[in-house]
Amino acid sequence: MRDAVAALVRDGDTVVIEGFTHLICFAAGHEIIRQRRRDLTLCRLTPDLIYDQMIAAGCARKLVFSWAGNPGAGSLHAFRRAVEKRDPPLELEEYSHFGMVARLCAGAARLPFWTLRDYMGTDLPTANPRIRSVTCPYTGEALATVPALNPDVTVVHAQRADAQGNTQIWGLLGVQKEAALASRRVIVVVEELVDQSVIRADPNRTIIPGLAVDAVVVEPWGAHPSYAQGYYDRDNDFYVGWEPISRDSAALKGYLDEFVHGVRDRSEYVERCGGLDRLRAASRVCAGVNYGY
């Protein structure tokens, strides 16, 4: 992870660490904090705790997002301090979920914009002039548009990939495929590195082709406190516990010192958490299908 971030994430980059609740790569976020990257434009539908931490750590110049809360547990207070008290100042570019999804679709399709039926009557286009409209060449009606999002680097966490980055994900898929294919550089972080024969045995599970991947990093538990279907459960206590930490900037700094700057890598982080076996997934293995002919 250290080498991948050092080589592929640069100051001033537009960075996407995707994963909708599922497979959020905290391991990459922590490494970016440790390497003290600055002036990043952070993009995610849901900034979640990972961007709250990166904002608190001073990595972010700008945030592009659609829902900035702590799911089921409260607020992202580092984010709120930045917006409400300019501490530190943070530029915002705001969409709805559909708008962010559409931006990544356009990016992955290498089109300059994407069309959607949305935003009429809302204040979002006023708050964000990059939400525009286009006239249908067939019906003449006006439809909303959002501009393509083409990140400098995207980090995708996955259950497994081969050494070339052919990546398989199951459970919630979010927008990982679109984000990876929209990006100039792609880092795939996996729970397990598998032999290519495992990928080839079930090609319909492959979400991201290796031809789009620049680095594959093996980082078990890399998505904690989010989860990896089939590997470990979401650490809901951590999300609930984040509320008081993030409320208090001293406590938040203390957290970063202990769990991010204070550890060398992910395995030390897992130790520091006192091990995470309590979250290990139960077994619910599905049957395979026949690819014969």
Binding site: T21, S75, R117, D123, L124, A127
Partner: protein, 247 residues
């Protein structure tokens, strides 16, 4: 009470776009009672979820395991929501105004807000595309201003323009379920009016929690209280740890 009333808004077999919290409780209560064939869709991509535990987030792994389909979010928003497949959407918010417009973005001005809220998430498009929406919120002058500070999710009248004027596919908020009664849009003006009262609450109590001169239907319905079975399910089965149920 709010969960029970919201649950009654759901008909068996309907396709519901579920948010977390009370809506989630309401849907699971409906499934456990009068609507076993309710189809739950979460914006995270889980379709036909049958969670074995009360999901804390709309992306909880329990929504995936044993669901009918999991698809990417581009499919959820383009091929299901924008496609018109969602019959009911639940919405909530920090501010709901006279015309059912919802604000989940900021309190105060957008550029210098006194309180920065999470933002739209999927709410703006749910409010536009779901065939109808049900809004759930506790009454208070703060929560029900005459007009919202920021219009995140459109209701029935946006700066004088109607949903029809703006070409919105869905019917918008047909019910606003509160902790004291139910508001419904006036068919002519789209303004929210009091349609039903909970037992032992008064019109004045409701008016006290609304930031505009609230009008009432000629005849106010009285809302049935939750049955014992509803209460048992909610307290013992659906939310045993009182995650979402206060009163």
């Amino acid at each position: 009470m709010m969960a029970t009333v919201a649950a009654r808004e759901l008909r068996d077999g309907e396709v519901v776009f579920v948010g977390i919290g009370l809506p989630n409780l309401a849907c699971n209560l409906a499934r456990a009672t009068h609507a076993p064939r309710l189809l739950l869709i979460y914006e995270s991509g889980a379709v036909g979820a049958e969670p074995e535990r009360l999901p804390v987030s709309i992306g909880d792994p329990s929504l995936v395991t044993g669901s009918l389909m999991v698809c990417g979010m581009a499919d959820v928003f383009q091929f299901l929501l924008q496609n018109g497949r969602i019959e009911v959407g639940f919405l909530g918010g920090a501010q709901i105004d006279r015309y059912g417009n919802i604000n989940t973005t900021v309190v105060g001005s957008y550029d210098a807000p006194t309180v920065r809220l999470p933002g739209s998430g999927g709410a703006a498009e749910i409010a536009i595309h779901a065939r109808r929406t049900v809004v759930i919120s506790r009454l208070s002058r703060r929560a029900f201003p005459d007009s919202v500070d920021f219009l995140t999710s459109p209701g029935h009248r946006m700066r004088g323009r109607t949903r029809a004027d703006l070409g919105m596919p869905g019917a918008g908020p047909v019910r606003v379920v509160t902790d004291k009664g139910i508001l419904e849009p006036d068919p002519e003006t789209g303004e929210l009016v009091l349609a039903a009262l909970y037992p032992s609450t008064t019109v004045d109590e409701v008016r006290a929690g609304v930031g505009w001169p609230l009008r009432c239907r000629e005849t106010l319905r009285e809302v049935e209280p939750p049955g014992d079975e509803d209460l048992r399910l909610l307290r013992d089965v659906l939310d045993p740890h009182g995650l979402y149920l206060r009163s």
